[in-house]
């Protein structure tokens, strides 16, 4: 196990280096000149040149990259062009909000997905199964922006149950997390349904039935734990999905997370922020997968044995 973790940590570092290198090259390869954007339309050529110098943009690309890497190793993600503040500070101020939203969203989608997946598997081929599969199809296909606005209109504007936007209380988190959770639950429902059907056909379940165990005990004690193994791996992957997916939901609900920060930075060509958020997202994705990889053998002895 220690070897596995060590190997995955090395892989994580290599992936992060790759992400940093690719992001750096992509952002610096496109034609917009950040110094010109910062300087604005009334700036003299001298002002633009000065800004370029101050930002180190007049240095050769490899030097800029090395400076950037050196900064990262020292925990310095650079300074925002537009906000003139440390990128690390900006991300740190917003990351908790995104993590909270992510945790609440994943909780809702796993709960809903597992519940409906099990119900559909137990009623395989019936009306309930068909309804659940249809709903999950709609959920995974629905555009986030439309779903978010619809939820907001129904539950905040019309019914007035929740605040329309903002951050700071339990009520604020419900709608954005539910939007993410309901849309994502479809994936879990489909996956749990198929693995559950598979498990229910296994010999040990048949044996359990033959021994006269109740259906509830068979499902909850014997079948479900085995059907949930892929869910753990999926949550790991989902962390990455959420990092990308929260942008729209954060925008609609005015949620002060890093998705919103990234969206504004892209519009402002604020390269240090874009790179910082990309790195943090990449880190979240690889850590999510690492946790899933480490947890899986702890839970399932068969994986450990391989």
């Amino acid at each position: 196990m220690a070897f596995l973790v060590a190997r995955r940590l090395v892989q994580t570092l290599l992936i992060l280096f790759g992400v940093a290198a690719i992001t750096f090259l992509l952002l610096y390869a496109f034609p917009a000149d950040p110094a010109r954007m910062i300087a604005g339309r009334s700036a003299t050529a001298q002002t633009v040149a000065n800004i370029r110098h101050e930002l180190g943009l007049d240095q050769p690309l490899p030097v800029q990259f090395l400076t950037y890497l050196q900064g990262i190793l020292q925990g310095d993600l650079g300074r925002s062009y537009a906000q003139k503040t440390d990128v690390g500070t900006l991300i740190a101020a917003r990351l908790p909000a995104t993590l909270l939203l992510m945790a609440a969203g994943i909780f809702i989608e796993v709960m809903l997905g597992v519940f409906f997946g099990v119900v559909a598997a137990l009623r395989r081929g019936g009306t309930v199964d068909r309804v659940v599969m249809m709903a999950s199809f709609v959920g995974v296909s629905a555009p986030q922006f439309v779903a978010a606005l619809l939820m907001l209109y129904v539950f905040a504007v019309t019914l007035g149950w929740f605040p329309m936007s903002g951050f700071g209380s339990f009520a604020h988190v419900v709608l954005p997390a539910a939007t993410l959770g309901i849309l994502g639950a479809g994936w879990y429902a489909r996956m749990v349904r198929s693995t559950m059907i598979d498990v229910l056909n296994q010999d040990y379940v048949r044996t359990a039935r033959a021994k006269g165990l109740s259906s509830a005990r068979i499902v909850l004690r014997h079948a479900l734990p085995n059907a949930l193994l892929p869910v753990i791996a999926m949550i790991g992957i989902d962390i990455g999905q959420f990092m990308g997916g929260v942008v729209v939901v954060e925008a609609v609900y005015g949620w002060p997370g890093i998705g919103q920060l990234a969206w504004q930075a892209i519009q402002q060509v604020d390269i240090p922020i874009i790179m910082g958020v990309t790195l943090v997202s990449a880190l979240a994705i690889v850590l999510g997968n690492l946790v899933a990889d480490v947890l899986a053998p702890l839970i399932d002895p068969r994986i450990r044995a391989r």
């Binding site: 002002t47 000065n50 101020a93 504007v157 949620w255 002060p256 504004q264």
Partner: protein, 539 residues
Amino acid sequence: MFKRWLRHTTVAAALAFAPLTAFAQDAPKQGGDIVITYKDDIATLDPAIGYDWVNWSMIKSLYSRLMDYTPGTPDLIPSLAESFEVAPDGLTYTFKLRKGVTFSNGREVVASDVKYSIERAVNPKTQGPGAGFFGAIKGFDTLSGGTSETLEGIETPDDATVIFRLSRPDATFLHVLAINFASVVPKEAVEAAAGDFGKNPVGSGTFVLKEWTIGQRLVFERNPDYFVKEMPHIDKFTVEVGQEPLVALLRLQKGEVDIAGDGIPPAKFLEIKNAPEGADVIVDGEQLHTGYVTLNTKVKPFDDLKVRQAVNMAINKERITRILNGRATAANQVLPPLMPGYDKAYAGYAYDVEKAKALLAEAGLADGFETILYSTNTDPQPRIAQAIQQDLAAIGVKAEVRALAQSNVIAAGGTEGEAPMIWSGGMAWIADFPDPSNFYGPILGCAGAVQGGWNWSWYCNKDLDARAIAADSMSDPTKSAERTAAWEKIFTDVMADAPWIPVTNERRVVAKSPRMGGEGNIYIDPTRVINYDAIFVKD
């Protein structure tokens, strides 16, 4: 500066007093808290750096400058200055400061603060976008070039006197001293903030910043020591950021928000306008804005005047105003109608497809030609570019529309020979201050027709440049009318060369709750966007 305008440009301005929706003209009341929303976070409140349409108004209210404007008008008035004198040669400006004005840290504002603040705005280490505005002050070149740390053209013989010596007469200089970059800041607070003054502002304006929760809200409270009695009117305003405009509008309709700062999304505009409370909610006023298509005079066939004139005649501008839900009027010249120097008698190039075809034939292009039209990729700009594309097709010109991120369009425009045509929507020009010269230098003058410049037509007429300099040298107030006439003629002559297709003069729309009081022109202030000092609450 934009309604979704370019981040690094500036002040939205509005002068249209008559067309603004009429409000009950109650006497301003003191007190009250209000909530304002914006989609984007506030970048910085450092006056030497902040240069977008959202933070511009806030910076105006946090700091004081030697000069300011009467709320809702382009009329210059002394502010931190109690009085000023201009020498007959227009090269020396002497200001006397008000006594007893204090920064929010309690220290009195003195002349050396003015000198420090302007030197800081010019100093390249600040990386401020406003340095160029102070180009007329003696010593500008050495400070901006990094070979000195001070401006020799600013003297402070005592705590109450500031003398500016200019290297050339500059008729816009008083306006320059009223823009945000001339805001007065205390050196000790800037140094204490250690590079983060934009998040820890200290000024002597109408409001002080009480709270800034990144990504969520900023809270501004009345400055009890502000030197003009009964200003501002409201006690506090909270700026909530990261608010989707559509959601902000819904919240406004529910009474949770008082001003939806980003205005009304196009899809909701007519619905709100036609609603019974529409007149109370919408402030719709003209601003000093012109949207245009640049014609690259260094790219074939736009190096031919007849071709430029032909495409000027081919564009159906009325149709484009309809795409903007009528929130614009057709433009026929560089300056917007409310800017001094706008030529009411000038008709511009009329929409005339047959004449346009005839001009193309005269240019030897009877079968038309192929070209590229750049546009930003945010709604409604691509749709406008497509309308222009269709109009051009009617005269045989096949234009490929390239809708790209704003930064890429700016980069293409500033690269010689790269962009034959650019629709400026989303990046269009709005005046930094209400003076015609501000519509010339960077976007039509030779200085802007350089690599990385903003003169995307690459138009350079040395004769007009000389006349522009001469006009700006007329700093004697008695020559104001003569100067305006000179600018009027300069812009008419620009249009004779047709480096642009002026397309629209866009209006600005603000949504506000019925409890908000004050005339429309303080919500679309010519020099501030929203004038937080002058708005008030009716209940």
